[in-house]
Symmetry: C2
Subunit: 209 residues, 2 copies
DNA sequence: CGGCGACTGTACCGGAGGTACAGTGACCGG
DNA sequence: CCGGTCACTGTACCTCCGGTACAGTCGCCG
């Protein structure tokens, strides 16, 4: 149960493996990341890897769960701060979007990339379980944003006819697509600008041009 | 030079390999597609594959070039039809977007997926040449849409303050992101709905709510 | 002192990509 | 008819990687 003193270093070996794997996978894909390089980086043996994860798929699963949870925490925090600065659900959301755009802009390199998208394109490598995690994560964002838009629409009747579920999905699409473009073009700020554009659309929908 | 009679079947072996590879890669990623299954599908020997492509990377390159060109042709046709139905650059574009949304909606399964995105997340597997093709393709779309928006903005001064390059990039982001979401959620119509939302945004920018 | 958690080491397997190279049959120009 | 080239086939071989199977080790905890 590890508790206070880890056998090596400060973090547990398992966590170091996950960290190394995440960095490597986002840089060069899951398939191109070998177990060999991970165990070399973590300074353990190959057997050590299979002690922690029964196969590469289990590594992917653990990684995805950690990633989804971390993303959720970050965005929860951002929108909570947006709401703290503003009572109104619309303006709180708009502030949140601006904070998010600023956050993505301040990242050193391009946004680390989105594991959800990365795994979507490599999905056949994985099992049903992993695809379900991915699906649930995306649906959770739809639900969260949809609930927000319902509250907003009650106060600000939409000026443009839109489906609120689609508007919620658009946030995910813009972020995923923005990351992809950002990486492809090697333009780190592209994602931030796309988020800002999405924000302008939300404004137009509920406040008008 | 093959000319009239191919040695086997009607299409050339090389084309059959590309067709098989495209289907397989979009279904289950590049890495998970083995040369073995391609040569089995094309009914040739392993040596035959390496006769046509010196390695898997050359296959990816040929595939990407073919894909990018085909996409360009399809969208050229769609926006040409939009313009044919309407003299105005804005309304021609809006018609084109509707045609595009209809096209993606009518596809049997989800949109076949976007090789550009698929390859972006597996980029380290490939060389500079392939990344350049990808980059150029995306930049070409930015340029094309940007030129269109310049023409539109001359006639319809934007009601919402937006950068026209960003607005052009948004089309690519929405399509890439929409495909990813569509695949992840297994909702074939999601992409079409996102394109329709983008169309609503374009309307709002240039015509107002 | 005994057991368990966190490993290490060794050996082995199959599949995938890739190389090397010799051979073969159809067709084509001279 | 002959030689060459195109489009392959077949065989052999190599490496890397994921994965399996264990047997052994070392430190800590009850």
């Amino acid at each position: 149960m590890s508790s206070l003193l880890a056998t090596r270093k400060d973090s547990t070996t398992r966590d170091r493996l996950l960290d190394l794997a995440e960095t490597a996978i986002l840089q060069k894909s899951f398939a191109a990341t070998s177990i060999e390089e991970l165990v070399a980086g973590a300074e353990i043996s190959r057997s050590g890897f299979f002690y922690h994860f029964k196969d590469k798929g289990q590594l992917a699963k653990a990684l995805l769960l950690r990633y989804v949870e971390r993303d959720r925490a970050i965005l929860d925090d951002i929108f909570a701060r947006g709401d703290a600065l503003n009572d109104d659900p619309l303006h709180g959301f708009l502030v949140g979007l601006r904070l998010f755009a600023e956050m993505t802009a301040s990242l050193p390199e391009a946004y680390p990339g989105c594991l959800v998208a990365a795994i979507c394109y490599q999905e056949q490598l994985f099992d049903r379980e992993i695809r379900a995690i991915n699906r649930d994560a995306v649906l959770a964002w739809r639900t969260r944003f949809r609930a927000r838009f319902d509250r907003i629409a009650a106060l600000y009747p939409p000026r443009i006819e839109v489906d609120l579920d689609d508007l919620a999905d658009m946030a995910s699409a813009i972020v995923d697509g923005g990351i992809t473009l950002s990486k492809t073009l090697r333009e780190p700020l592209l994602l931030s600008r796309q988020v800002t554009l999405y924000r302008a659309f939300i404004r137009a929908v509920f406040l008008g041009g």
